[in-house]
């Protein structure tokens, strides 16, 4: 992801920099760990006198670093912290995010269920902020159009879900929303196949996306039979395609997930500096709020709400297909959520 920042900074510097000066980029690794991230940010702020930071990469690290940056009045723009719990935090004045909150993913998941005409659903969610957060959003987005029979919260470390799945079997819903990760997902799908739960529609999320799922053959078979799912995606064509070509030319590899939102974060910050003629975080913050209205970014159209949360997102609807003896994820279509 850092490569996309280098690309953006290089483009700006090649065009003469910002306010007549070249942009200097400092890099620290937050290791997606809250404590490491806070140490890294403190170093950047105290030692390197940095005022504008792209990060934190995860929601957990954002929770830890948010209060610190608010107190020091330095600006943090995250390209990848998606938890709905970050919305409405008291320290949000100096924290933006260019990725959509999972709220939108939950809405998309609910919409898929309603489009398929599902009437009775069960939500199976891991018991952590990601799982319970998405579960709440899905339940409210269904808005009574489909009945939620029950919400089952489970321990992702337990790795035996036969009883939970038996309950689903007994409730006999048309569909199951599952919010989990790869490790617990593999066991759940294997056991769900054993229980014959592949006859109902399963709707997954970005946490269960990944070829790691196919390490368990029964899980792969189950996903091909019963599942579709969502994940944040980059738009197709337009500005994203220009970015992709530039990225390919410079690094000789495809941009990964969140490379587009981190590129937009970088460009937005630098545009805001140019607009205000300063790098003062308080002024850059104001400029970001006004720039972030229908901004045409490489990650699609971007608008911030009053606290710096993005109010729309692009998601992919995926399915699993069997090709010969191999399994693969396939894009069904892109869905824009607002």
């Amino acid at each position: 992801m850092a490569k996309a920042v280098e690309l953006a900074v290089e483009e700006v510097n090649d065009a003469g920099g910002v306010n007549g000066r070249q942009v200097k980029l400092y890099q620290e690794d937050d290791a997606t760990d809250p404590a490491t991230c806070l140490t890294a940010i403190k170093k950047l702020v105290e030692l390197n006198d940095v005022k504008l930071i792209i990060g934190s990469m995860t929601s957990g690290a954002s929770m830890t670093c948010g209060p610190y940056v608010a107190e020091r009045k330095v600006l943090l723009v995250s390209p990848s912290a998606t938890s709905p719990e970050l919305t409405g935090q008291p320290w949000r004045d100096y924290y933006f995010r260019t990725c959509p909150s999972d709220t939108f993913q939950g809405k998309v998941m609910a919409k898929i269920a309603l489009d398929e005409g599902l009437k009775k659903a069960v939500i199976l969610a891991m018991d952590n902020p990601y799982g319970t957060g998405l579960a709440k959003v899905i339940e409210s987005a269904l808005g009574g159009e489909a009945e939620v029979l029950t919400v089952i919260k489970y321990d992702p470390a337990k790795k035996d879900y036969l009883t939970e799945l038996t309950q689903i079997k007994n409730l006999n819903p048309d569909g199951v929303f599952h919010i989990g990760f790869n490790d617990d997902g593999r066991v759940i799908y294997q056991q769900a196949l054993n229980l014959g739960l592949d006859k109902m529609r399963w709707i997954g999320c970005d946490g269960v996306y990944g070829t790691g799922m196919f390490a368990t053959k029964a899980a792969a078979e189950f996903m091909a039979k019963a599942m579709v799912g969502t994940r944040p995606a980059s738009p197709e064509g337009g500005k994203y395609e220009e970015f992709r070509q530039a990225y390919l030319a410079k690094f000789n590899t495809e941009p990964e997930v969140f490379c587009d939102t981190i590129y937009d974060a970088t460009k937005l910050i630098l545009d805001a500096c140019a607009k205000t003629g300063t790098d003062d975080p308080a002024k850059v913050r104001e400029a970001l709020l006004s720039l972030g209205r229908d901004y045409e970014g490489v990650s699609g159209r971007l608008t911030f709400d009053g606290q710096g949360d993005r109010i729309s997102g692009v998601y992919e609807l995926w399915a699993v297909v069997k090709k010969g003896e191999e399994y693969a994820f396939e894009r069904v279509r892109l869905i824009e959520a607002e």
Binding site: K159, D160, T163, Q167, Q191, N194, K217
Partner: protein, 289 residues
């Protein structure tokens, strides 16, 4: 009604794993008078031996079970000879033996992690599933319950009908009297160490087949297994059978209860222990005590 049947089947699956895994623990406690924590890793080790044969989709489960039984039995025999027997001969008390077993467990666990990787692995066969009336069963579950029944009946016959079995009971009941009546305690202990750990290895294969394989496979279920062993009255095989299915039932109905009140199912262990505490208040020596 059908709902009830599926839950009973789940309880039987959970209970069968606990029974297989707890057998060795309770039998060796009867002989050596210490809880052997390395049993967690004996279970895991069995799972990995099974993986050698079941990493291909056409692997044979019976062969994997047999291999896990013998390999784990041998591992336990070696650990008895190299670690526990010298300690017992030096009249080590409960705590040093227990700590030694925890240490041995760590050695085995980390060796497995280094040899096979710490990431979770999966057995490759996909088990055939079919509907028996309202109940969904897989071939794997039938094998598992069959193995537990076979173990239960086989051990009952062993303990009541054979000289070796009677000797095991004699030592567990009164070690000094058994010694003076000419029972070869070493030979009986070797036999029990091998047999008990063999069953734990088999439990590992079934657990890994039903979920997935990782170096903490056994450690993750050691707590409920201890609960089963204590609930049954540690050292008592018949109490163990009752306790295994009682705890299986408690966990499975517990999940439904938790869910009904909106709690996460991760509290299921708490329910199992609630049952344990209640039973121990009224029957301090366990079900068989």
């Amino acid at each position: 009604m059908g709902e009830f049947a599926q839950i009973l089947l789940n309880a039987a699956i959970t209970g069968s794993i606990y029974l297989l895994a707890g057998t060795g623990l309770t039998l060796t406690y009867g002989l050596l008078r210490f809880p052997n924590f390395a049993y967690a890793e004996f279970i895991t080790f069995g799972g990995y031996i099974g993986y050698l044969l079941l990493q291909k989709p056409d692997g044979s489960l019976p062969l994997a079970v047999a291999a896990a039984f013998f390999a784990t039995g041998l591992l336990s025999l070696f650990s008895h000879l190299l670690c526990f027997r010298p300690l017992v001969n030096r009249r080590a008390s409960l705590i040093p033996l227990m700590v030694a077993s925890i240490g041995l467990g760590y050695i085995i666990r980390y060796s497995i992690g280094e040899m096979w990787s710490w990431a979770a692995l999966s057995y490759q066969p996909v088990w055939q599933a079919f509907d028996l009336g309202p109940v969904r069963v897989t071939a794997l579950w039938l094998y598992l319950i069959g193995a537990a029944l076979f173990t239960g009946i086989g051990l009952h016959l062993l303990l009541t009908r054979t000289k070796t079995g009677k000797a095991i009971r004699a030592i567990a009941g009164n070690p000094d009297l058994a010694l003076v009546s000419g029972i070869n305690r070493d030979r009986i202990t070797f036999f029990t160490c091998f047999l008990g750990a063999g069953f734990a290895g088999v439990a590992g294969v079934f657990r890994a087949a039903d979920t997935q394989l990782s170096p903490v496979l056994g450690w993750d279920i050691l707590l409920p297994i201890f609960a089963v062993v204590i609930l049954g009255g540690i050292g008592s095989f018949y109490g163990l059978i009752m306790a295994a299915f009682l705890l299986g039932l408690a966990e499975n109905f517990g999940v439904i209860l938790l869910q009904a009140v909106g709690l996460s199912t991760e509290y299921r262990m708490a329910i199992a222990f609630l049952v344990l505490i209640l039973v121990l208040i009224f029957r301090p020596k366990g079900l068989a005590g």
